[in-house]
Each structure stands twice: as structure tokens, then as C-alpha cells.
């Protein structure tokens, strides 16, 4: 609207200037400016629009990324269970009257589950159909049954009502809310007959979706419904602990030296340039360093949190040093001078006054550096933290994996259920990152002092 308005007013001005008698054909500056004004205002608007568009597009991408991962990952936090009336008959289990621990371990639990499924669907006669029926229950069901029997052997010979985890494909179609009466509309590896079973079970209220505790209490697994992130979480925690214990004291010491004690000489210059450059070295190069030095030269164990922690601490050192130096620099000189005036030595000035005042800033920088380390994947691939780890690591030298590497590993798995597991692991990872950054922001807000 405004465009056309200014356009028309321009026209009028030009007309009027031309209409004046005795005017030279050369236009004056004002009319020249006015003639181009509309174009210039349009350009101004366009320019501003480009800016808004760039920001909107970036933020839109952020929203798309987060929502798509959230939508994909949300179902993994729940899992579907199927109600079964298990007849724990000693014959089917293959147990004697007084079963030993070994017998209990070797008992035929899957037989019991299969028999229960057959009893539930007595019409199923064909071998193939039976096999498909058995597939509905996760193979982890038998271990769960073994645990129950081990805990309370008295239940042998009785019939118990229990909920066992469903197979990942069954869980996926039940959670997706697809219309089970129209098998063709569902994208799944399950057969139409299996979908029919699923519908029967669902309609009878014998399926239930609950919070997926397994996801947080298990290690990795080839079976999606049994795969969990506990091993990766513990691995991440151990690695991050090593990183913190190494990088925090070293970085603070380095920052104090450079900011408070370093003489103005070549060596200090080299150190400074070096730190700035290290901050921009690709993380994978740190992985090569870790592989060549710590694993091949010092023979530290592969895949261990201790090596991962060392590599990540070398990587995060520059970040923390730079942040700590900024925090130390922000402490006003008057504090130092007052302390010196009371007879404090240079080090007492630092340890008693400057460092405590700079601590909030240093901690903020440290947390941000650690958050970076928590999300890092590439250098850990180099030092072998990509192994398939089922056991929960118990110490700093056990083989372990970390959360982002677990994401990487699961992202490569073909099963449909692993896509949701991957997204769920990403949600957990992002959750931790948000938490750490929130703590950093809070620290800054709460303790930051303007001098």
C-alpha cells in the first residue's frame, strides 16, 4: 500500500516540477532523491524482510528438528505388555519335584509361554500360524519368568496372571494408534494374521501400555525391546567425571597463571596463541591423538572411560581456560590493590580474593565445556568406545560406551523400533544438556556481579 502511495506522490512531484515555466531541464537534487525514494524504501523493506526471514528460517528448523525427534522418540518411553494366565506346570517346565538352581535355570519357560498363547487362541492350528503367534511375546519374557520363579519357587504348579513385554513390532503398532481392523493401512513387518491376534488381545483389554522401565535399567541389546541406555548413561557419567577432574583444576590453574602471573614474553604469547588455536582444532584430531598416544604408546585400555575422559578433557581445556580468563579479568583491580595494601602476597591475593570472586564465571564456563564434552562423539569413536556393550561399566577402566555413541550405534540399526530408541536416547541426551545449560545460566544470573 505504502509503496503505491509514495509512487504516486513521486509522480505528482515530477509532474509539477516539469510544469514550472522557465525551469532548466536539469533536475535539482531534491527531485532526483524523490524520484528514487520509492525504490529505496522498497529495498529497505526487502532488506529487513531478509533479516527476519533468516532468523525465522533458522528457528523454524530448530523447531522442526526438535519436534520430529520428540514425536519419534516419545513412544520409546512406554512399552506394551500382554496379559497372560501362565500355568506353571512342572511337567511343561521340565522340572523335578525338588528342582535345583541349575534345573530352574534350564527350565522350559518359553514352552509355558507358548502353551499359554496356544490356549488363548485355540483356533490356531497351523504350524506357521503358531509360530507367528509365539512371536508376539518378546523373547525377554522367558527371562522375566525365570526371575519370578527363582524369587518364589512356590509358584510352580500354580496358575499366575502376569504381564509380559510384547514384541517390539506388536508394541509399535499398538502404540501408534493405527486402526487394527484395516491391516493394509499399517506399515509393519507383522502379517495380517498377527495384526488380527493383536486386535483380539487389544479388544479384550489384555494389552497395556506402561512406562518403559527397561529403557533406563538395561544395557544395550540386539533386541530393541530389551535395549536400554543405562550402560551408556553410566559410561557418560564416568567419562564426564574424569573430564571434570582433569580439566577443571588444570584449566583454572592455567587461566590463573596466564591472567595473574605470566610475564609478558614470547613463551606466554605462544601459549596464548596455542590455546586459541586448540579451541578450533576439529574434535576428531583429538581422537587421533588419543589413539596414537594413550592407547598405542601408553597401552591404556581401549574403550575405557578413563581414556575417553582424558581425550575430552584435552578438548574442553581451551573452552574452560578462555572462560576462566574472562572471569578473572572481570574482577576489578581495586580488589587486588586493597589486598596488596593489607600485606597479602601475590598468591594470597589470588587464592583469597580474586579466585573466589571469579568462581561463578569459572563454573559457568566449566559447565558449558562439560556440556560440549557430553555431546561429543567423534573422538570417542577413535579410541574404540563404539563397542557393543551390554554390561554396565563398573569402573574407569571397564569397556564402556557413552550416550552420543549409543545414539550413533542405534541410528545404524535397521529395526524400526531402534529409530524410536535412538530418538528417545537423543531426548535424554538433550534433557541433560538443557539441565546443564540451565544450571550455568542460573549460576550466572544468581552470582554474577557487576562492578
Amino acid at each position: 500500500m505504502t509503496n503505491t502511495d509514495s509512487d504516486s506522490s513521486d509522480m505528482n512531484n515530477q509532474d509539477s516540477s516539469q510544469a514550472l515555466p522557465g525551469d532548466s531541464p536539469k533536475r535539482d537534487t531534491t527531485s532526483l532523491v524523490k524520484a528514487t525514494l520509492a525504490r529505496r524504501y522498497a529495498a529497505e523493506k526487502r532488506f529487513k524482510f531478509y533479516g527476519i526471514f533468516a532468523i525465522a528460517a533458522s528457528l523454524a528448523f530448530l523447531v522442526v528438528l526438535l519436534t520430529s525427534i520428540f514425536i519419534k522418540g516419545w513412544p520409546a518411553f512406554t512399552h506394551t505388555y500382554v496379559k497372560l494366565n501362565l500355568e506353571l506346570d512342572a511337567d511343561t517346565l521340565g522340572l523335578s519335584d525338588n528342582p535345583t538352581a541349575k534345573e530352574l535355570r534350564a527350565a522350559n519357560y518359553s514352552g509355558v509361554i507358548k502353551k499359554t498363547m496356544r490356549d488363548r487362541f485355540p483356533d490356531v492350528k497351523k504350524r506357521k500360524a503358531k509360530k507367528e503367534l509365539y512371536q508376539l511375546i518378546s523373547s525377554s519374557g522367558e527371562y522375566r519368568l525365570y526371575d519370578m520363579v527363582k524369587e518364589n519357587p512356590a509358584i510352580i504348579g500354580t496358575t499366575i496372571e502376569t504381564w509380559l513385554p510384547a514384541d517390539d513390532e506388536l508394541a509399535a503398532i499398538l502404540k501408534s494408534g493405527d486402526d487394527l481392523s484395516d491391516p493394509d493401512s499399517i506399515v509393519t513387518r507383522m502379517s495380517d494374521q498377527q495384526i488380527g491376534f493383536a486386535k483380539t488381545l487389544k479388544d479384550a483389554g489384555e494389552t497395556q501400555t506402561r512406562f518403559n522401565k527397561v529403557f533406563f535399567t538395561n544395557g544395550d541389546s540386539r533386541e530393541p525391546e530389551q535395549a536400554g541406555i543405562k550402560a551408556a548413561l553410566i559410561g557418560s557419567a564416568l567419562t564426564l567425571l574424569v573430564t571434570f577432574m582433569l580439566s577443571f583444576p588444570i584449566a583454572v590453574a592455567a587461566a590463573i597463571y596466564l591472567e595473574e602471573f605470566a610475564p609478558q614474553n614470547k613463551w606466554t604469547d605462544i601459549v596464548e596463541v596455542n590455546i586459541n588455536n586448540l579451541a578450533a582444532v576439529p574434535s576428531i584430531v583429538f581422537g587421533l591423538l588419543g589413539l596414537a598416544v594413550f592407547i598405542n604408546f601408553f597401552h591404556l585400555p581401549r574403550s575405557a572411560p578413563v581414556v575417553g575422559g582424558i581425550v575430552l578433557s584435552l578438548m574442553t581445556l581451551p573452552t574452560i581456560i578462555i572462560a576462566s580468563r574472562a572471569a578473572l579479568k572481570a574482577v576489578p583491580p581495586s580488589i587486588r590493590e586493597a589486598a596488596r595494601g593489607l600485606g597479602a602476597s601475590e598468591q594470597q591475593v589470588v587464592w583469597h580474593h580474586v579466585l573466589p570472586l571469579a568462581m561463578p564465571g569459572i563454573l559457568t564456563g566449566t559447565i558449558i565445556g562439560l556440556a560440549q564434552a557430553l555431546g561429543e562423539t567423534a573422538p570417542l569413536l577413535m579410541i574404540g568406545m563404539v563397542a557393543f556393550i551390554v554390561d554396565i561399566p563398573a569402573g574407569f577402566t571397564d569397556a564402556a560406551t557413552v550416550l552420543p555413541v549409543q545414539v550413533f550405534l542405534w541410528a545404524d540399526s535397521p529395526e524400526r523400533a531402534f529409530v524410536e530408541k535412538t530418538s528417545a536416547a537423543i531426548i535424554v541426551l538433550l534433557g541433560f544438556l538443557i539441565l546443564m545449560n540451565a544450571v550455568a545460566v542460573m549460576l550466572r544470573k544468581r552470582f554474577e556481579r557487576r562492578w
Binding site: A254, I256, F261, A280, L288, G375, L381
Partner: protein, 462 residues
């Protein structure tokens, strides 16, 4: 006896000596008329004793642990049957590994081979001897050090300067770790790269156009000649980085200009942190998103308009990488744009320029060196980025600049060459280090130029 126990014992000894040293200083002070008669504070005397106790012991523990492995391993040589020794170095290493695993398994008796059983038992004995020796030695050194320092405590002992000098040395050492890291990177990468170049000529590496790092295991094996021409990798890296920069520079720059010149302080305070979130998301998440959402989307789009797009197209990886880099470009440009003096804008406005004209003709040229520096830093980031390309770009080393095809990058190849088998004398593994060296040098040069440009520019207006 585990290293942790030894460390804990040494540290508690150090603490005890700290307390005793301080106690002695106090008692001297009492007998000579107050703490002010001492040269230093009692705590300094305590620290002096504690440091004298802990530092030598820690040095011994660290040194011991560094050299224990190789020495024990060479002492094990005599337990390895001569037959294995005759086979060469590799079988010996393999044999040692087996013995190591056996010794660690805690069930040596289960091993059928008597020689191995014996060797594993010997290994365990050697290790336990070593641990006991280390324990005794480090404790003895700790106690002797503490005792020497304790005896030195007098009212005129200059404890504070001694302690402060030690602390300052520790501070200097910490600051030098940055240098050590760089040296470590250069040497570790350089040595392995040199070993690689002794097998494959440098000329072939930097000019060859065929990359297939599979070296033949058998002589007569077909199709595994192992050619190490890295041009396709360089081209792939450049292609993906260029796409990323094509996305990141316009978006990042325009966001920065809008935030610095147009946005109200309130909008700025909200939008800036939101943009920074993009930089805080782990790259593995971007990789997952690129591989699972963006790549299929681009392929489907391409099919709609009749183009054949690879499912691992450079376009998908590059675009997502570009989005990841937007906040780098925008926050670095934002810094330099806001550093341009207000007087220049005012002058331009006074001459009747519109805001966008001021930005384009005055602010932008003034900020250009700094922006270029920021873009170079972003480019070095793109070249070194690993996870996005590992997950979303392919492994096929195609020599192409078509963004719809799959290309591979230097970082992808480093990861593929080094995960999996780990033989440190094959050209295949060593090639990863040669690539790493190139990557390190390229990014280093970019960073040095960028940092210099940015710094020089800042000084201009300060």
C-alpha cells in the same frame, strides 16, 4: 594392591604431614611469642611438609605406571616358547595378549596349554611384586620427604616463598599443557603419516584420483590393490563444506545484521539465545536428523521433479551442516557489526541514507574483515565436522561436484579406516593419520588467518 589404594594412602599421608607441620609451626609460635614471630603462616609450614610428602611419591607412582607395562612385558619374553619367538614379532604380541587375557580372567587352571598357564601365573606374580614394590617405595619416599621437611621447620624458615614457588610452577605447568597437547597432536599424527608416506608416495596421495584403501590380504586377491589417491576425498569435503557455507553465510549474516541493527533489545535478548541452541545440539543429533529426515525428503523432492538423487546426497549433509554453523557465523558477525562505531552510522544517516543503505555501504564494508574471519572459522568447523557426514554422507569416493550424488569426506574416511580392525603397520590404518595430518594443517591455517584478521580488526576500532 591397586593403584587407587596406593594413591589414596599417599594422599592421606600428605594430609597427615600437613596437619603435623602446621601443628609444629603453632607450637614453635607459642614458645616464641605468637604467630607473628614466624616467617610464614602456620598453614604454609603445613603445606610445605605436605607437598614434600606428596610430590616425590606422586612422581614415583606416575613414572612407575608409565614404564611398568613395557618392562613387565619384556620380562615375560623368557616365558614365551622359542617356537613362537621364531615366528616373528606379531605372533609374540598375539601370544602375550592371550596370556594377558588369561591372567586377567582369574581362572588360569582352565587353560589346557601348560606353557600359557605358567606364563600367566608368572605374569600375575610379576604384577603383584611390582605393586608391592611400588607401594613400599612410594610410601618410603613420602615419609622421608615429609620427615626432611618437618625437621626444617624453624621460626625463620621461609615456608611461604617455597610453597608459592612450587604452586607457581604447577600453574605454569598447567598452562603449558596446551602446548604439550599441540606437540602431542603434531607428533602422533606426523609420525604415523610419515610411516604411511614411506609406503605410498606423497605425489600419489595428493594427486591420485582413485581412493580404495582396501589393501590385499592375499597376493592374488582381486580388486584390492589399495589405491590412495585422496583427490576425491578433498573434493567431497570441499563440496559438502561449500554447500554448508552457502547455507550458513547468508542466513547467519542476515540474522546477525537484523539482530544488531534492527531488532529491539528485547527481541535480541530472546532470539540470540534461541539461535545459540542450534550450536549446542550435539552433532550426532544433526547426523541422525540428516540421515533419517532430510535425506529422504530431498530424494523424494528430486524424484518429483524428475531428478535422481542419491539417498546419501552431499546436499542433505551439507544443508544440515550449514544450519548447524549458522549460529557461529551469526554470533561472530554480530560481534564485529556491533563493534563498528556508532558515529559511522550516524554520519551515514545524516547524509540521508536509509538504514539498509547504511548497513550495506558503511557498516558492512567496515566490518568485512571481521566477518571474513568469522566465515573462515566457520569453514574450518565445516571441514573438520565429522558426525553429520559419517551418518548422512556416503562412503563411496566419487569424483564429482554434483551435490545430488554421494560423496565422501576426509573425516568420514578417518572414522571408517580406524573403527574396525587395528593393525598399525598396514597402509590402510596409517592412511587415516595422513588424512588427519592434512585436516589438522588445513584447519590450523584457516584458524591462524581468521584469528589474526579478527584480532587486527578489533584493535582498529578499540
Amino acid at each position: 594392591m591397586s593403584t587407587t589404594t596406593i594413591l589414596l594412602v599417599a594422599l592421606s599421608l600428605a594430609f597427615v604431614s600437613f596437619v603435623m607441620g602446621r601443628q609444629k609451626a603453632y607450637s614453635i609460635a607459642r614458645s616464641s611469642g605468637g604467630v607473628s614471630k614466624l616467617h610464614s603462616l602456620p598453614g604454609h609450614y603445613g603445606l610445605m611438609v605436605g607437598l614434600w610428602c606428596a610430590l616425590p611419591a606422586l612422581a614415583i607412582i606416575i613414572g612407575w605406571k608409565l614404564f611398568e607395562g613395557p618392562i613387565v612385558s619384556s620380562m615375560l619374553d623368557s616365558s614365551i616358547p622359542q617356537a613362537v619367538h621364531d615366528l616373528g614379532e606379531k605372533p609374540v604380541d598375539l601370544y602375550k595378549n592371550e596370556i594377558n587375557n588369561l591372567a586377567a580372567s582369574g581362572n588360569i587352571a582352565a587353560e589346557p596349554d601348560a606353557a600359557k598357564q605358567q606364563a600367566a601365573t608368572r605374569l600375575n606374580t610379576l604384577r603383584s611384586y611390582s605393586a608391592v614394590a611400588l607401594f613400599l617405595l612410594s610410601i618410603a619416599v613420602a615419609i622421608i620427604g615429609a620427615a626432611l621437611a618437618y625437621r626444617k621447620i624453624k621460626s625463620n624458615t621461609r615456608a611461604r616463598p617455597i610453597v608459592e614457588r612450587i604452586i607457581e610452577f604447577f600453574l605454569l605447568a598447567s598452562a603449558s599443557i596446551a602446548i604439550l597437547t599441540t606437540v602431542g597432536i603434531v607428533f602422533s599424527v606426523l609420525f604415523e603419516a610419515l610411516r604411511f608416506f614411506s609406503q605410498v608416495s606423497v605425489i600419489e596421495f595428493v594427486t591420485g584420483t582413485k581412493w580404495s584403501p582396501q589393501t590385499a590380504i592375499r597376493v592374488d586377491q582381486a580388486g584390492s590393490s589399495g589405491s590412495f589417491g585422496a583427490i576425491p576425498l578433498f573434493l567431497g569435503t570441499l563440496l559438502i563444506s561449500a554447500i554448508a557455507m552457502l547455507v550458513a553465510v547468508p542466513f547467519g549474516l542476515m540474522s546477525a545484521i537484523y539482530l544488531a541493527e534492527y531488532a529491539s533489545p528485547r527481541t535480541r535478548a530472546i532470539v540470540k539465545p534461541l539461535l545459540e541452541i542450534l550450536a549446542g545440539i550435539p552433532t550426532v543429533v544433526y547426523g541422525f536428523f540428516a540421515a533419517l529426515t532430510v535425506a529422504p525428503l530431498i530424494r523424494n523432492l528430486g524424484e518429483h521433479i524428475g531428478l535422481s538423487v542419491s539417498s546419501e546426497s552431499a546436499l542433505a549433509a551439507g544443508t544440515v551442516m550449514g544450519i548447524m554453523i549458522i549460529p557461529f557465523v551469526s554470533s561472530l558477525s554480530d560481534d564485529v557489526i556491533t563493534a563498528v562505531p556508532q558515529a559511522m552510522r550516524d554520519g551515514s544517516s545524516g547524509l540521508g541514507a536509509t538504514k539498509s543503505e547504511t548497513v550495506r555501504k558503511v557498516v558492512f564494508p567496515a566490518a568485512l574483515p571481521g566477518i571474513v574471519g568469522g566465515v573462515l572459522l566457520a569453514a574450518s568447523r565445516a571441514i573438520g565436522e565429522t558426525m553429520i557426514v559419517v551418518m548422512a554422507a556416503g562412503l563411496a569416493a566419487n569424483l564429482t561436484i554434483n551435490p545430488l550424488e554421494a560423496v565422501t569426506t576426509v573425516t568420514v574416511q578417518i572414522v571408517t579406516l580406524l573403527t574396525g580392525d587395528q593393525e598399525f603397520d598396514s597402509a590402510k590404518t596409517l592412511a587415516a593419520f595422513a588424512l588427519g595430518l592434512l585436516l589438522f594443517i588445513t584447519t590450523l591455517i584457516l584458524n591462524v588467518i581468521a584469528l589474526r584478521v579478527v584480532r587486527k580488526y578489533r584493535e582498529q576500532y578499540d
